[in-house]
């Protein structure tokens, strides 16, 4: 616990220019915007290479060249996105060093060696990217292709290590080791001791998974943009397929993300309960209501995209009648998931309810109900994928009927376990109830794994009911992909604020106090506007990157002898 005298000394030291000022918007807003937009681009340049290397591998080992072209198309976008990341990163560093010089000096006193490594790795990463992209056509066959793929893996490795290093700085600000106090001389703090703080690894894992989700969503948005701008059926088919792949990867990784977030939340609680309560039960709890809305939007939009997509799959008609029931579960789940425990109510309503908690609906605002709702929504989404996957095939294995029954039983059992523990949670004390969420999650994951295995076995030699008519999608399906990308980006900004804001008026939690005029934690309304502004800036710049991608492709297309460099119109992809 910081002691008052030291705080006074810190405040006195501030008279020696501890803080700078930025015109018009102020120092905090400047650092906020640069940090957030930098982080969004960083997620872009970390998420998309993951996507690229996986799709390239599918192309190599699956023998489907479409994936290879897809992979290259995205790597082209990375070149511009890397520059943007570096520019915003440099702006952030200049902002920190000129506007928060005392704090920046403190961080560099501890982390300087890791900052040098960071810069070096960024250099190596950039050149790996250049080799990866510009060597694409040179190393496209045999062992050379495997070597090229290895470059893609290395690109991911460098990027991930760079991210881990940056994560150590920000997690140190949140959860410095307990033996570090306001009086500790930063030059005496061991580097690894500061890096391996309580929230470092949970943030690392959470961000890696989130980057996969983000990468998939950005790919989906790019594909939808190109789909809407397409002039030929071939282009539409190609970008329709690309949008599907992006959405599939984003939604698949999204299912894992809450568990990584849960671990991070646990670590925050264990590190400092007061910080945890501020985040989940205190003034930031309203952010989680907004988060609930946004996650409901993700689930509804992801499913909507799949259901519209069934319109282009021969044989999907037999599953169409079921989608309305899935929709009902999702809407009810969204209602439960978004019901606040403490409701916004005027004095009359408060008096009628007997408090801020509704006597009936308040039961939907607690953990048991939320966990039950979200697990059922995950199961429902998985079922949508399953129906979509099966739509144009008819299994021919003799045990197909039994297999389907077993799959149905697995869904029923998983849903039963989720409901049982959800209801039981109301009758046990908190410490027991918390453990129930693990059983619910395990039931859902077990169902997903087992049903998928059965489905893969059952699909062997399945009779085809016709090829998917890629490109035969209405425009509104593509707007669904846009919504997914915007929602993911918004969620990233929102949750980033929650993570960073729980430090309240500390630069480094209970070690270094923020004594600037911006020390107060911003009000949620102001924060929401700032986050929205960051999202808008990022999306405008991403739209520019997308447009550049198309521009480069066109020039390649018209240049004589350019072949199918760029993988766009030269790629006469027609789907399958």
């Amino acid at each position: 616990m910081a002691d008052g005298a030291v705080m006074l000394l810190q405040a006195a030291a501030d008279s020696t220019r501890a803080y700078g000022e930025f015109p018009v918007i102020g120092a905090r807003a400047f650092v906020w915007i640069t940090a957030e937009v930098h982080l969004m681009f960083a997620a872009f340049v970390l998420g998309v290479p993951m996507f690229a290397v996986v799709t390239e591998a599918i192309g190599i080992f699956g023998g489907d060249e479409r994936y290879d072209r897809l992979s290259k198309e995205f790597t082209r976008l990375l070149l511009v996105a890397y520059s943007a990341t570096a520019i915003w990163g440099a702006t952030l560093v200049f902002g920190l060093s000129t506007l928060y010089p005392r704090f920046w000096a403190y961080l560099t006193a501890i982390f300087a060696p890791s900052m040098w490594v960071y810069a070096g790795l960024f250099f190596v990463e950039s050149f790996t990217l250049y080799l990866y992209y510009y060597g694409w056509d040179r190393w496209k066959k045999g062992r050379a292709k495997l070597g090229h793929w290895t470059l893609g893996i290395l690109l991911n490795v460098w990027g991930t290590v760079v991210m881990f290093i940056a994560n150590s700085w920000l997690t140190y600000m949140m959860s410095p080791p307990r033996d570090i106090t306001p009086t500790t001389d930063p030059t005496t703090i061991k580097l690894w001791h500061a890096i391996a703080n309580a929230t470092w690894m949970p943030i690392n894992v959470h961000r890696v998974v989130a980057n996969v989700v983000f990468g998939g969503a950005i790919v989906g948005a790019y594909a939808s943009y190109r789909f809407l701008a397409a002039r030929t059926d071939e282009e539409r088919a190609h970008y329709d397929w690309m949008g599907y792949v992006g959405n599939f990867i984003a939604m698949s990784a999204l299912i894992v993300l809450p568990f990584a977030g849960y671990w991070l939340g646990r670590e925050i609680y264990q590190y400092d309960q007061s910080m945890g309560i501020t985040m989940m039960g205190g003034f930031m709890s309203w952010l989680w209501v907004i988060q609930a809305f946004l996650i409901a939007v993700l689930f509804l939009t992801g499913n909507y995209y799949l259901w519209i997509g069934m319109g282009r799959i021969p044989g999907a008609e037999r599953f169409r009648p079921y989608t309305k029931w899935l929709l009902i579960i999702l809407v009810l789940g969204a209602i439960v998931w978004g019901t606040p425990h403490t409701m916004i109510a005027d004095s009359k309503e408060l008096a009628a309810m007997g408090g801020s908690h509704h006597p009936l609906l308040g039961a939907l605002g607690v953990m048991s109900a939320k966990n039950t709702a979200v697990n059922l929504m995950i199961l429902t989404t998985f079922l949508s994928f399953l129906l979509y996957r099966r739509a144009n095939t008819r299994p021919v294995v003799p045990w197909a009927g039994t297999g389907t029954m077993i799959q149905g039983a697995m869904f029923a059992i998983a849903a039963g376990i989720v409901l049982f523990y959800g209801i039981r949670g109301y009758f046990v004390e908190a410490i027991v109830r918390i453990g129930f969420s693990v059983y619910q999650v395990l039931a859902v994951l077990a169902c997903i794994v087992c049903v998928t295995v059965i489905d893969i076995l059952m699909a062997r030699g399945a009779q085809s009911l016709g090829a998917i008519r890629w490109g035969k999608m209405p425009a509104r399906s593509q707007y669904a992909l846009f919504i997914l990308a915007v929602t993911f980006t918004w969620l990233m900004g929102l949750m980033g604020f929650a993570r960073s804001g729980i430090r309240q008026y500390w630069h480094v939690w209970q070690v270094m106090q923020d004594t600037s005029k911006y020390a107060a934690t911003p009000a949620l309304g102001y924060a929401s506007k700032m986050i929205s502004l960051c999202v808008l800036i990022f999306l405008c710049l991403v739209a520019f990157v997308f447009w550049l991608g198309g521009l480069a492709e066109k020039s390649t297309f018209v240049a004589p002898g350019a072949g199918d460099e760029g993988g766009g119109r030269g790629d006469r992809h027609v789907g399958h």
């Binding site: 309560i277 953990m367 410490i431 949620l524």
Partner: protein
């Protein structure tokens, strides 16, 4: 049957679903035993969710989507529907105006507040000059189970002498003075108050009252007094014991090393 044609039409299905949802949320939910009216903020939230669901339903199938748009298109362009069009041109702006008026008109009611009902407690407090560490702290009176009935009886007496006027005879926040307060006194029977909290949290709130709330608890006008000025440490613990004993709730327990646990959401 003409009505059958409407019942099968996606546009009228959507309209009927929205009306039905509104009726259920606003009129049916409060009819359940023990229920109450649903706050406008929640009605809006539920209706927005239902609207999204309805829009997904009418547009996730091309044929249904085309049929859904037919009446809208007809109302906008068909000559025979000119009266309907004129009616809509008046009704829609009037409705928007009415809603806008409802939002901005002056009322005597205090505006709703986004308050932190359970702000984060400090890790330690000073009680009449003595430092008490809240983290990991349980009710010390529970260390003497043989005397718990006597402590609860003490707590009951203290509650009725001091807390009754606001928190009420039934511990439900419906004391005589309760209608005069905003925020209204805590309802201990509700599963969202003491049932969700450790006893050390309750001790902190009783001891420090409204004036001792942290900054994140604002805007806050709680009339809860700072009870450390009137009650001893032991008296406060006795009252807390009584609250749990009387309501039947169990206090939230502390997580021991290696045991899973964290509070989530507004839980």
């Amino acid at each position: 049957m003409n009505w059958r044609r409407y019942a099968d039409h996606p546009f009228w299905q959507a309209a009927a679903l929205l009306v039905a949802a509104y009726v259920v949320i606003v009129y049916v939910v409060p009819l359940f035993p023990g229920s109450a009216l649903v706050p406008k903020s929640v009605v809006l939230q539920y209706m927005a969710t239902v609207l999204v669901g309805v829009l997904i339903y009418v547009s996730d199938n091309e044929e249904r989507w085309i049929r859904f748009r037919e009446p809208i298109h007809a109302a906008l362009v068909e000559p025979r529907l000119r009266p309907v069009r004129a009616g809509l041109l008046v009704a829609v702006p009037a409705l928007v105006g009415l809603v806008a008026y409802g939002q901005v008109r002056t009322t005597v009611a205090a505006p709703p507040n986004l308050r932190s009902i359970h702000p984060a407690p400090p890790s330690e407090i000073t009680f009449r000059g003595k430092t008490i560490t809240l983290t990991g702290l349980d009710n010390p009176l529970r260390q003497h189970p043989e005397s718990s009935a006597a402590y609860a009886a003490d707590g009951k007496r203290i509650y009725y002498q001091n807390c009754l006027p606001c928190h009420g005879d039934h511990l439900d926040g419906q004391g005589h003075y309760a209608p005069g307060f905003n925020p209204i006194p805590a309802n201990f029977q509700d599963n969202g108050t003491i049932a969700q909290l450790t006893e050390s949290f309750v001790f902190w709130r009783v001891a420090k009252g409204g004036p001792g709330l942290p900054r994140e608890g604002t805007p806050w006008n709680s009339a809860m007094p700072r009870w450390e000025d009137f009650l001893t440490e032991r008296e406060i613990w006795s009252v807390i014991l009584f609250l749990y004993d009387q309501t039947g709730w169990k206090p939230r327990t502390w997580e021991t090393a290696g045991e899973a646990g964290k509070r989530k959401g507004d839980d």
